[in-house]
C-alpha cells in the first residue's frame, strides 16, 4: 500500500516512483512563460495512472534523427543556392552549395540507416510506395534527390560531364524544397502532442531553418564576392523561422509548454539568438564592404552562428517532443478539455 488515492480529482498523496514525471505546475514556470505572453490554458487538474505516460517514448536516437532534420534542411536549401549560383554566374557559391548538399545528404543517409533497429534491412524502405506514410514518401524522395545532389557535386569538382552536372543541379534544386520541408510532416504525423499540434507552422519553421543553415554554410565557405544572395537568404530565412515558430507556440495551447522548459528551452533560446544574430551580422558585414579582412571574419562568424542556430532549433524541437510524450499531462488534459467542450456544445444544442 502506498497511501495514495486515485480520485476523480486526480492522484492524491502519491509518491511517484524514481522515474515518474509528475508534470505538476510550479509558480516558477508560470512566471517564465511571461515575456508578455499569456498562459493560453489554465492549469488543469487531471487524472493519470500513477503518473505514467500514456504514449510510448519515441525510440529515435536524438543524434541520428534530430541530426537528420538538420542535415536534410541544409542539403535541400543548399541545392537551391547551388542552382542559383550556377544560373547567375557565381561558380564559387555554386561549388560550396553543391558540396554542402552532397555532403549533408550522404551524412543524412548514414544517420538514417544507423537509426534503424535492423540497418541491414534499410532497402525495405523502398518495398512499397505508401502515401499515408511520410517516411515512405520521404524515402522515395531521398532516393531521387541523393543521386542528383551527389552527381551535381561530382560533375562540379571533376569538371567532366558538364551537361549532366547542370541537369543534376536543376533536378536537385527542384526536389530540394521538398527535402527541406517534408521532415516537418514526418514528425507531425505522430501522436506526440508537441509535434502533432504544430503541424500547420512546423513546415515553415523548417523551411526557414533550412534556408539559414544553407546560407550559413555559403557565408562561411564561399568566396566573399559571391555571398550576396546568401546574405539575403539568411535574413529572409531567419525572419520566416523565428516568426512562424512564435506563431506556432501561440496556437498550440498546452502543447507549447515543453518548448519553454528545461533543456529544449535552452536550445531554442540559443537558436533564436544565434539565428537572429547571424542574420544581422551577415547583413551588416555585407554593407561594410566585402573585401576587407574584418568583413571576411564577420561573415565567417555569421555563417557559423547560422549553422549552429539551425542545429540547435532542430535538436530543441526534437527533445521538446520527446518530453511531451513522456508526461501524461500533455496527452490527457487537451483531450479531456476537447471532450468537455463537445459535451457542452451538445447540451447547448438541446
Amino acid at each position: 500500500m502506498t497511501g495514495s488515492d486515485v480520485t476523480r480529482d486526480g492522484l492524491e498523496g502519491a509518491r511517484p516512483g524514481r522515474d515518474a514525471v509528475t508534470g505538476e505546475p510550479t509558480g516558477r514556470r508560470r512566471r517564465r512563460r511571461g515575456h508578455g505572453e499569456r498562459a493560453m490554458v489554465p492549469e488543469a487538474e487531471f487524472s493519470s495512472y500513477y503518473g505514467k505516460p500514456v504514449l510510448n517514448r519515441p525510440t529515435w536516437k536524438p543524434l541520428d534523427i534530430a541530426g537528420y532534420l538538420y542535415l536534410g534542411g541544409l542539403a535541400g536549401a543548399s541545392s537551391l543556392l547551388a542552382a542559383g549560383g550556377q544560373v547567375t554566374g557565381r561558380p564559387g557559391l555554386a561549388r560550396v552549395a553543391k558540396l554542402g548538399a552532397a555532403g549533408a545528404m550522404s551524412l543524412s543517409l548514414a544517420a538514417l540507416v544507423h537509426d534503424l533497429g535492423r540497418p541491414a534491412r534499410f532497402v525495405n524502405m523502398l518495398r512499397v510506395f505508401k502515401p499515408t506514410s511520410p517516411m515512405s514518401l520521404g524515402s522515395w524522395l531521398l532516393a531521387g534527390y541523393a543521386p542528383l545532389a551527389v552527381a551535381a557535386a561530382a560533375a562540379d569538382v571533376t569538371g567532366r560531364h558538364r551537361a549532366v552536372g547542370a541537369a543534376a543541379t536543376v533536378g536537385a534544386a527542384a526536389l530540394g524544397p521538398a527535402v527541406a520541408t517534408y521532415t516537418a510532416v514526418l514528425i507531425s504525423d505522430t501522436a506526440v502532442p508537441s509535434w502533432h499540434e504544430g503541424y500547420r507552422e512546423l513546415p515553415f519553421v523548417f523551411a526557414g531553418s533550412g534556408a539559414t543553415a544553407a546560407a550559413g554554410l555559403a557565408l562561411a565557405c564561399a568566396p566573399a564576392r559571391d555571398t550576396g544572395p546568401a546574405r539575403r537568404l539568411a535574413a529572409a530565412g531567419a525572419a520566416l523561422e523565428l516568426g512562424s515558430f512564435r506563431l506556432m507556440k501561440r496556437r498550440m495551447g498546452l502543447a507549447a509548454e515543453p518548448y519553454e522548459q528545461g533543456g529544449p528551452h535552452r536550445l531554442l533560446r540559443s537558436a533564436e539568438v544565434l539565428t537572429a544574430g547571424g542574420a544581422v551580422l551577415a547583413t551588416y558585414a555585407g554593407r561594410a564592404g566585402c573585401r576587407s579582412g574584418r568583413a571576411r571574419l564577420l561573415t565567417t562568424g555569421a555563417g557559423a552562428a547560422l549553422l549552429t542556430g539551425s542545429a540547435a532549433l532542430r535538436f530543441g524541437v526534437f527533445h521538446a517532443g520527446v518530453a511531451s510524450a513522456e508526461d501524461p499531462r500533455y496527452t490527457v488534459v487537451p483531450q479531456r478539455e476537447r471532450l468537455e467542450a463537445q459535451a457542452q456544445a451538445r447540451s447547448e444544442d438541446h
Binding site: 517514448r57 533497429g117 525495405n124 499515408t132 520541408t181 510532416v185 507531425s188 523551411a207 544572395p229
Partner: protein, 348 residues
C-alpha cells in the same frame, strides 16, 4: 468560402461501400484494406467490472507468443509490476485503489437459512464463539457514531469501503490504425479478420509506429531492433481458436468474438450495471464515430479512461495528414520563392 465548404463536403462524404479511408466510421475494415473474401471483424470486449486481477492473461500471452522476459522489478506503487504495454508486454493488468464503494454486490452464495441476529445473540453462550468482549469494541475506543456494545461495521481507523479497479489492457486494433498508416515498409498490415499485425520478417526497426500510436501500445525491442505488439493471436485465429488471453481468463472479463456481436453484448452489460447502481460504468472505444473510428478491442470501465492510463479522446494522427501535406507544400514553395528573390535582387 465556397471552396472550403466544397472541400469539407468532399472530406466528410462517405463512400457507402468502402467508408472513410483516413478517419471516421468504417463498417467493413478488412474490405477497405482490399480483401474480397474478408471474414467477420474479430476483437475483444474487456469487461473490467469482473476482472479479478489474476494476470492469467499476461502469463498466457507471454507463453503462447514466446515473448522474452523484460525485467523483474517491483514498482512499489501497487500490485502492478508490469507497468504498461510495450514490445514485450502485450497484455497489461492495471491496479487502481480507490476509497469509494463499488456499488451493490451479490456474493452469489446462499445464506438465506442463516439467522445472523440469532447467531449474534448466542455469542458467549456457546463454547465455539468467544465472549462479547472479544469482538465488541469498548465504549470510547471507536469513532463517534459507531455503535458500541454491538458488532461494529466501521473499522477502528474510520475507513469505510474501498474498491479496487482492475483492467487488462491490450492493443486496440483500431479501425484507423496510425501505426499501420505510417509504417513505411508495409510490415504492419490489416488481416482478413480486421486486426493489425506486424510481419517480423519485414520490419526494419524504423520506429515510426512507436510515437504514432495514440495509446502507447507498440514498441521497439531494444536488443532485437524490431517493433512488436499484440497480434490478436493471428496464428490461433487462423485455425478457429480464440486468443490465448481470452482462453485463459477465468472470469470471462476478456471476451473474444465478432466485433458487432461484442458491441451488442457490451451495450446490454453496461445498461445492466447502471440499473444495478454502478453509475460509473461506461464503454470505452466501442463508438465507430470516435477519433480512431472505433476500436476492435474495447472496454467497459468503472472510471474515467485516464485513471486506467488510457487517453480520454484519442485521434488517429493521419486524420490531419492531407492538411499537413498542404502546409508543407506551401512551405516548400515559400522556400523556393525566398531563394529566387535572393538571387533576383541585385547586390549593391
Amino acid at each position: 468560402m465556397t471552396d472550403d465548404t466544397a472541400a469539407q463536403a468532399a472530406r466528410t462524404s462517405v463512400d457507402p461501400a468502402r467508408g472513410n479511408l483516413l478517419f471516421g466510421s468504417q463498417p467493413d475494415v478488412a474490405g477497405a484494406a482490399g480483401y474480397t473474401d474478408a471474414r467477420p471483424r474479430m476483437g475483444f470486449f474487456t469487461d473490467t467490472s469482473v476482472c479479478i486481477g489474476c494476470k492469467a492473461c499476461e502469463v498466457a500471452c507471454k507463453e503462447w507468443n514466446a515473448i522474452p522476459e523484460d525485467g523483474l522489478e517491483l514498482t512499489g506503487m501497487s500490485y502492478d509490476n508490469t507497468q504498461g504495454l510495450g514490445a514485450d508486454t502485450w497484455r497489461h493488468v492495471a491496479f487502481i485503489e480507490q476509497r469509494k464503494p463499488l456499488g451493490g454486490q451479490e456474493p452469489g452464495i446462499g445464506h438465506e437459512d442463516v439467522d445472523v441476529f440469532a447467531a449474534a445473540a448466542d455469542l458467549g453462550t456457546s463454547p465455539s464463539s468467544p465472549g462479547p468482549g472479544a469482538t465488541v469494541p469498548e465504549p470510547g475506543s471507536v469513532p463517534a457514531g459507531a455503535p458500541t456494545g454491538a458488532i461494529s461495521p466501521v473499522a477502528p481507523d474510520g475507513r469505510t469501503e474501498l474498491r479496487w479497479l482492475m483492467s487488462s489492457d491490450v492493443c486496440k486494433h483500431c479501425t484507423h490504425a496510425a501505426c499501420l498508416d505510417v509504417c513505411p515498409t508495409g510490415s504492419l498490415f490489416r488481416t482478413e479478420f480486421g486486426t493489425v499485425v506486424v510481419q517480423e520478417d519485414i520490419c526494419n526497426g524504423c520506429g515510426y509506429c512507436v510515437p504514432a500510436c495514440p495509446y502507447g501500445v507498440i514498441d521497439q525491442r531494444p536488443d532485437d531492433g524490431r517493433a512488436w505488439k499484440c497480434t490478436l493471436c493471428y496464428d490461433r485465429l487462423g485455425t478457429g481458436m480464440e486468443p490465448a488471453c481470452a482462453k485463459a481468463c477465468p472470469t470471462d472479463s476478456i471476451q473474444f468474438g465478432p466485433v458487432d456481436e461484442l458491441r451488442e453484448r457490451a451495450a446490454t452489460r453496461v445498461e445492466r450495471l447502471r440499473a444495478a447502481g454502478v453509475t460509473d460504468a461506461r464503454l470505452y472505444g466501442e463508438d465507430p464515430q470516435d477519433g480512431v473510428g472505433g476500436d476492435g478491442a474495447f472496454f467497459l470501465l468503472l472510471d474515467q479512461p485516464e485513471v486506467y492510463g488510457l487517453p480520454p479522446d484519442p485521434v488517429v494522427t493521419t486524420r490531419d495528414l492531407p492538411a499537413m501535406w498542404r502546409h508543407a507544400a506551401a512551405a516548400a514553395a515559400s522556400l523556393a520563392a525566398m531563394a529566387v528573390v535572393s538571387f533576383v535582387r541585385r547586390a549593391r
